[in-house]
């Protein structure tokens, strides 16, 4: 761990409509170093998913800046941000978000194909094998259980060798046993590939397995803890 991979400065997000303004995030400041495991926790409505979206370049901030791997996301248009995501970012979603009309293998191949890479099938099969689903490569998402879909999603997230992995409640829709397996898989792959992990969760037990926890309430940081190695073992 060394260089900063994510820098957030004075970040705010305000939604306006005809009747009023809603401040979802207010004056957020933090940095994440390369290789760190970082979690954002808070109750529902605390702004954690909004913060994740802003950090990943999925949304525009109202004020403040986000720098991802040295690239300032503010001022980039959507296509430029997409390019950044394809190059540096992996995603794991609570609802898996697999492309329903593609097979498991095709889902894993897409990020590499978006890069213009050819001969991606072999690498994708290897990743599927790594998550234990090589024999299900030609199945569609509807033919897979929740846990299996999430494993495909993880394989897809790592297919483009991202620098940073954003996970939004990755075990939110899974039972406890499956959740454990998914957590283990994420952390293992993270360790193997040296990826920075940014995870949004309301599960404190999961959060405690990361290196740092950022606690949000009412759109503001109320606490930032660095966990010792014994705490997140």
């Amino acid at each position: 761990m060394g260089n900063k991979i994510l820098e957030v400065e004075n970040l705010s997000k305000v939604y306006s409509n005809a009747h009023r303004e809603l401040t979802v995030l207010s004056d957020i400041n933090f940095n994440i170093k390369e290789g760190e495991k970082f979690s954002i926790v808070g109750s529902s409505g605390s702004g954690k998913t909004t913060l994740l979206g802003l950090c990943a370049g999925l949304d525009n901030a109202s004020t403040g800046t986000v720098k991802l791997n040295g690239i300032t996301l503010n001022g980039l248009n959507e296509d430029e941000r997409a390019k950044v995501r394809n190059a540096h970012v992996g995603f794991v979603f609570q609802n898996f978000q697999l492309l329903p009309t593609l097979t498991a293998l095709e889902n894993v191949m897409v990020p590499l194909e978006l890069r213009g890479e050819s001969n991606v099938r072999k690498r994708s099969l290897e990743l599927l094998d790594r998550v234990g689903l090589a024999d299900r490569h030609d199945h569609y998402p509807t033919q897979l259980s929740g846990g299996e879909q999430q494993r495909i999603s993880i394989a897809r997230a790592f297919s483009n060798s991202p620098k940073i992995l954003f996970a939004d409640e990755p075990t939110g829709n899974l039972d406890e046993e499956t959740s454990q397996k998914i957590e283990s898989l994420i952390f293992e792959l993270n360790r193997e590939l040296g990826t920075t992990l940014v995870m949004v969760t309301h599960d404190l037990e999961l959060a405690n397995k990361t290196d740092r926890i950022l606690r949000l309430k009412g759109g503001q940081i109320i606490e930032e803890n660095e966990l010792t190695s014994t705490e997140n073992a």
Binding site: T49, L52, G53, A56, L58, D59, N69, E78, D79, A82, K83, R85, N86, A87, H88, V89, F91, F93, Q97, L98, L99, P100, T101, L102, E106, V110, P111, E113, L114, R115, G116, E117, S118, Y140, T142, Q143, R156, N160, S161, D168
Partner: protein, 852 residues
């Protein structure tokens, strides 16, 4: 950091296929929208192309000669033809009665006495085949129109009497060159040898005979243009009262008639295509709404907006191409059916052949339409936010600021105007039509919004759950109420308008057979026969409804200008047609029921300076206006050699649809009583036997007198109109079926949104009955709002078309309106429930697995 490469083009095709393979049923519905419209276009264009080729190829057979000259003067002569080597045939034709001794019946026919080898090209088609030649062997033989032979049960070998002499029927006349459908309706043709014409006693001084000469020109010099020569001699020919027709003119005239037919057919195809366009737009709109999540995921992973756009553009283009190919194939089959549909209306034998330009044109049109009408919903996905992956409720960016989408809308507007212009041929009408369609969309959109607002605002919150859920579905987030009401409503509007206009056009040409109206007209009665014919009618128990004198005359001059002066003055804008026609005029001092005074007054004018002692005549108002003849103008008439100077004292508006002796020109009494004249008697017969008996007596006692049985003509006209109505309805079927397909596909495509809701309700314990009722209610509201809106639009559109385009009165019936409302609403509910049935009979999870 990995440097990204350009995405290879084949990846887009790969992704388009990957996505499409699980969406085949949806895409099939998309295809169905344009297939029938393209099929109609290809069939009609191919048929028209074949017909044009055949008219060109068989042009000489259309006329039967290189040149036809005709006149009412038996001694007419065109001296230019003396310089050429020619063969000439003669035909003298006139209307007269023919008597059938076999069954003692008679009928008005067009007697054509023939001398020479006409037709020089093509043939007179007869049954048996050889009758065309054998009837010219010098003996007293006749060819009789086949429909007359059937009507009067006449066989080959039977006898007919024409005037004073009998002829043997040599064969049935099937078709000849120079025969028009309209003429055969009133007086079908019979051919007799010209050598026996005078023996019939029918051609006397004053008889209305058309003298025709048909020429085959054997040694026309190379590069000599006969039409050009005739144009150069036009003035001379007019003065000599000689009418001409060449092969080129006949070809043009025939072509024009069938151009009008083709235009009508293309209009029908255009309506079917327009409906298809609506289907494409609504299908793609609904389809792309379901793909938003897919696009958002792609964007998360680094896909650009253009990448998603290209993937789905490839899908839509491919599907559009497949639909167009299928449509073209169906069109080729339908092309074979069209000659059968139009049998009886075609002047040439149609040779069916594949028209590759028509097929290619149809495919390109189908592809173009698919892409154009899919573009707007496709372009909107470019701006899909990847945030939807995190938050499904994230709003889609507004399209109002997207310039490209507005350019697409502009292109669609231009396309519809252009296509309408190609069909209608009038830019103003095309613009009005397109604006009407645009306003229709706006109206339907407003109806949808207003309905949703009203339900939210006014529906009682304490109503039963079924009602609340069913109506709440109409305004749920991502509802398709607006799209469905727009597509179903517009489809309903177009189909209903087509039906109303079709009915209006058919009614326009229907002649009413009122029980009190005259149905028998006796004409060519000489003055000395007048009283006897009237007495004959009375003795047969027939009322004399009208008995009018008719004097034949020509116009010598109007305000001092005669025909020669006008022709000699190249700058003159005066029309020559009043001088060139043979006028049939009557005289009386009062109006009849079908006339009203438009300008001036009957009787001697008081305020016409220096002209108050001239007899005042009255002209039909439109005729006078067209020919710039004003009140106070002096008209000198040539009444069979005797000039009579008159003044135009009034004009009349005439109701031509009434069966009465209506005249373009009317003289006062006291002027023409001593002029050579014939008389017309109008009566009414109560049944066919009485009519036949009277006709028989007339023909027996007065061979030169003719009788028109209007009832018989109306029966024949009804048969022809039935055929025309069938043709119109057959072609309209394309539009109606397309409209139904658009409706069905819109409803089916929207089902996927309801699946999860229905499954959720089922999971929570909702019964099949409850869910079906909820869905029925939603579909009932959608169907009824759409059909009512569509019917309102159709009523406005039909009124506009009737008033501005067809100059007619639009009076809709309630029954078709109710039928449309019940049908459209019913179909919407039935399709909707069929959608739901599949969901409710299976376990919820199985449904979710099967439906992506």
């Amino acid at each position: 950091m990995h440097k990204p490469k350009k995405i290879p083009a084949k990846w887009y095709f790969k992704m388009a296929w990957r996505d499409a393979r699980k969406s085949k049923s949806r895409l099939l519905l998309f295809i169905s929208s344009i297939t029938l419209g393209i099929a109609a276009l290809v069939a009609i264009n191919s048929f028209s192309s074949n017909l044009k080729d055949d008219i060109n190829g068989q042009a000489k057979e259309l006329l039967g000669a290189d040149l036809e000259l005709s006149s009412n003067d038996s001694s007419f002569h065109y001296s230019f033809l003396d310089t050429l080597s020619i063969e000439v045939s003669y035909e003298n034709s006139f209307a007269s009665m023919v008597f059938f001794p076999k069954n003692q019946q008679s009928r008005l026919v067009d007697v054509r006495s023939l001398k020479g080898d006409f037709p020089y090209y093509g043939k007179i088609e007869t049954e048996p085949l050889e009758a065309e030649n054998t009837f010219r062997d010098g003996s007293r033989k006749a060819l009789v129109d086949k429909s007359v032979m059937i009507q009067y049960d006449i066989q080959t070998g039977d006898t007919i009497r024409v005037g004073l002499i009998n002829f043997k029927v040599e064969g049935a006349l099937l078709s000849t060159p120079s025969q028009s459908l309209g003429a055969t309706l009133v007086a079908p043709a019979i051919y007799i040898p010209m050598d026996y014409l005078s023996a019939t006693g029918l051609v006397q001084k004053g008889s209305r005979v058309n003298y025709s000469k048909f020429y085959r020109i054997n040694d026309l010099p190379e590069n000599f243009d006969l039409d050009e020569q005739l144009r150069a001699d036009r003035d001379t020919l007019r003065l000599l009262d000689i009418r001409t027709e060449t092969v080129a003119e006949r070809k043009e005239e025939t072509g024009e008639t069938f151009d009008n037919l083709a235009d009508f057919l293309n209009l029908v195809a255009f309506v079917a295509l327009l409906l298809g366009c609506v289907g494409v737009a609504s299908a793609v709109h609904i389809y792309m709404k379901e793909k938003i999540k897919t696009v958002a995921i792609l964007r998360c992973m680094g896909g650009k907006g253009i990448d998603a756009f290209l993937i789905f553009l490839i899908q839509m283009s491919t599907v559009g191409l497949i639909g167009s190919l299928i449509g073209a194939l169906i069109g080729v089959f339908i092309q074979r059916v069209l000659p059968v549909i139009f049998q009886g209306f075609l002047p040439v034998d149609v040779t069916l052949s594949i028209s590759w330009p028509s097929i290619l044109g149809g495919i390109i049109t189908g592809l173009f339409i698919s892409v154009l009408f899919a573009l707007a919903p496709l372009l909107s996905v470019r701006n899909t936010s990847p945030l939807i992956t995190l938050r499904a409720s994230e709003d889609q960016p507004s399209i109002t600021k997207d310039r490209l989408i507005w350019m697409v809308y502009g292109s669609i507007f231009l396309f519809v105007v252009s296509f309408a212009f190609v069909q209608i041929g009038n830019l103003r009408d095309s613009l009005y039509f397109t604006l009407f369609v645009l306003l229709a969309f706006v109206f339907l959109g407003l109806v949808a919004k207003l309905f949703m607002w009203a339900v939210r605002r006014f529906f009682p919150t304490n109503a039963g759950y079924i009602w609340r859920q069913g109506l709440a579905n109409l305004y749920r987030p991502n509802n398709q109420t607006l799209v469905l009401i727009a597509s179903i409503g517009l489809g309903t509007a177009l189909i209903t308008t087509l039906y109303f206009i079709q009915t209006l056009l058919i009614n326009e040409v229907e002649v009413t057979t009122d029980n009190d109206r005259p149905n028998l007209m006796v004409f060519d009665i000489q003055t000395y026969q007048k009283d006897q014919v009237a007495e004959l009618a009375r003795s047969n128990g027939l009322p004399i409804l009208q008995q009018v004198p008719v004097v034949t005359m020509r116009i010598q001059s109007i305000n001092g200008y005669d025909l020669e002066t006008i022709i000699a003055d190249s700058t003159s804008e005066r029309r020559t047609s009043p001088y060139r026609r043979e006028w049939r005029v009557t005289y009386r001092d009062s109006l009849i029921a079908s006339e009203t005074i438009a300008r001036g007054s009957l009787g001697f004018p008081e305020d016409m300076e220096g002209k108050s002692d001239l007899p005042p005549v009255s002209l039909e108002n439109d005729y006078a206006s067209r020919n710039n003849i004003e009140l106070g103008d002096t008209i000198v008439w040539d009444v069979q050699g005797f000039p009579i100077e008159t003044v135009l004292g009034s004009t009349r508006t005439i109701d031509w649809e009434r069966v009465q002796t209506n005249f373009l020109a009317l003289f006062p009494t006291g002027v023409l009583e001593q002029a050579p004249q014939f008389h017309v008697l109008i009566t009414r017969v109560s049944d066919k036997e009485a009519g036949a008996l009277f006709q028989r007596e007339v023909v027996k006692n007065f061979p030169s007198v003719s009788v028109i049985d209007i009832g018989l003509i109306l029966d024949t006209l009804d048969e022809i109109l039935d055929k025309i109505a069938f043709v119109i309805r057959f072609m309209a079927l394309f539009s109606i079926i397309t409209g139904l397909l658009v409706l069905i596909s819109s409803v089916i495509l929207s089902k996927f949104q309801r699946i999860r809701e229905s499954v959720l309700l089922r999971t929570m314990g909702g019964s099949k009955r409850q869910i079906l009722l909820i869905n029925s209610l939603e579909y009932f509201c959608l169907g009824s709002m759409a059909s009512i809106s569509g019917i309102l639009l159709a009523l406005v559109g039909s009124w506009g078309l009737a008033f501005y385009t067809f100059d007619s009165t639009f009076a809709p019936n309630l029954l078709p309106i109710l039928v449309v409302f019940v049908s459209i609403t019913g179909i919407t509910i039935v399709i909707g429930l069929l959608n739901s049935r599949g969901i409710l009979d299976k376990p919820p999870l199985e449904v979710l697995r099967n439906e992506i």
